[in-house]
Symmetry: none
Subunit: 198 residues, 4 copies
DNA sequence: AATGAATGAGCCTTCATTCAT
DNA sequence: GATGAATGAAGGCTCATTCAT
């Protein structure tokens, strides 16, 4: 197991910093948040922040992994009960919307940071910490296509068609302008299946 | 007319700065690019940069408008020849991909900056400079729906379904990992129409 | 000529920073001197310091070159009038002591920084700025030996025997404990010649 | 006796820290070495380091005394067998070179730290721990001069002439550039005697 | 004796912006 | 219009040291 045993007190401090960071990043944005902001918000000292995360990027990456894990654990559990393409497609799309509605700060953070330098540079670390969930899903998608349960398309088209609309909507919502209307997840799930069914 | 008369020499210097800025933003990213970088790359002096654009954000906004205009002029011309929903939908999607392939730096810039603070804050200025092209398109979309040429959907769903997959693909491409395979525009146009046709 | 034309005002500011730096390094030591100390002492702003020297090390190197040039210009002039080994040896030793007595801060700085990381890393730059004076002197020394004007010794022994005692004395003096008694330069020059004469 | 009784386990830990410190100081330099470096290298904990040495300077001083003792014990033994000036002079010079060659890290450390603030401030402690060996030697030197076995010189000239060349050579060697050729100790010993004999 | 999480003062450096020439 | 030296607020980060366990 990769988790090292940490003293309980250290773990509590680490958690407080991560929570404070999410709050600050949500309120101010990643670039505009200073270590001082996080310090004030978490109650920890500057030194403690660096003791746990090494650098500002370290906080971003640790928080990203933390949010991603929560996101994926729920989705993974749901997908285990889906065995055909339609269920898979609808579940993925709906989960994206509903989880984001339930965890707005974490969702916004994931959306905004996905391609941010600070996080992108640590992709290997992120993948090793999250078990490369995306690739697994992609593999399953291609298997469905091979079985004829999905339309045959160039492989680079699957992910955009599956999640593009949801991402676009979430991004708009994350920018603070649009809402996430109740029921919109069903509309997007329908549309995704309309696009991808054979 | 809002355009002030500018001396030819001033205009040339302005253009050089804008070109250098695009090159720097592409290479280093907006936040990481310094005025000094732009100065070195453009051959202008720091003072000259400020004379033309007032502040770093001013460069970002001016460049954004510049790129957006190029993007929209082509699209506007094409859309004038399309009078039914299917042509409209297909043209919008295909243009997004083909124009981006032809103007990679400008396209990347537009994609990355769309919701960046620096540009978002100047939206009114951008809209007044580009004639609110997006809203016009959206209006036309809703008219098609009213006429029964498009599926009836919650209004917030149209844009994500129309452009979400293309945006997702372009974003992935813009991040430097995926390619834009030849013909992929047709696949996405087909899919968009499949999603939106009645 | 390697010297770029600089604006007079810029040059004056640069000089003020260098003077202040020498004063601070003498008083506090290189490592303990902060940019803030130099700023206060020179009247320049932090930004100006970095505009001219790029980094703290840049000040150290520029100042080192500055002091070394003064040291070498005088010695070079004196050595041009010396044509035999004895004159050469005596002049070098005496100049080391007398110049240091006349320019105590600069001398201390040279002695202390000679092998300090910050300066040692820039040796190529220093040599290109000072014309590799040391190597020239060493070459001349070996020529004297070849002509029989000096004792035949392993080549690594010449510099220690020529300057070691003076350096040792100066180092002790630079540390603030010993004095540089009047006439001591003659004693060391005699000793050096006693050591090196055939 | 000033040595406190220490538990064997404590002593072992203390020794490990001292060894690690020498290794780190050699590799990184005194100022650039952090307590964390020493901790990693020694296997001890930060707290343990402070338990034994009180402060970073404490390590420097303890290590200095440790190295100096080793240096002096050998020299003291050798000097006991020398009763005339020539033997004394030659032995001192040769020992400086040969001991350094045999204990390069310790020698480098002594050379580099001799006038470093951290060590200089603790001179009284060092003298009381090493029995003021230097002063004894200096006293013996002056006695030889009084007896006519050495040249009459200003008292400040003796040490530079005796050890200056060796120090200069060692310093050059310690900086990592020059070598310590076999036999060079004899050359310097000859030269020192040539300088100092009546 | 040992541990290592926590502390926080202080430092170097960056960089957008100004302004005298 | 152009120039580039000067400005200084602000931020990320280091690291010696402390102390509860």
């Amino acid at each position: 197991m990769e988790k090292e045993r940490r003293s309980a007190v250290g773990e509590r401090s680490r958690r407080a910093i991560l929570d404070a960071a999410l709050e600050c990043f949500t309120r101010l944005g990643w670039a505009a948040t200073t270590i001082e902001d996080i310090r004030k918000s978490s109650g920890a000292s500057v030194g403690s922040v660096y003791h746990h995360f090494g650098a500002k990027e370290g906080i971003a990456v640790a928080l990203y992994i933390d949010c991603l894990r929560q996101h994926q654990e729920v989705l993974r559990a749901r997908l285990e009960r889906e065995h055909d393409a339609e269920g898979f497609v609808r579940t993925v799309v709906m989960h994206h919307i509903t989880w984001s509605r339930a965890n707005p700060d974490a969702a916004r953070y994931l959306i905004r940071m996905r391609r941010e330098e600070a996080v992108a540079a640590a992709e290997p670390e992120i993948q090793s910490a999250t078990g490369d969930f995306l690739r697994e899903g992609f593999t399953r998608l291609k298997a469905f296509a091979k079985e004829g349960q999905l339309l045959h398309l160039p492989s680079t088209a699957y992910m955009p068609l599956l999640l593009g609309p949801a991402q676009e909507l979430l991004r708009y919502w994350a920018s603070g302008r649009g809402e996430l209307k109740p029921g919109i997840e069903k509309v997007l799930a329908d549309a995704a299946w309309r696009c991808l069914k054979p």
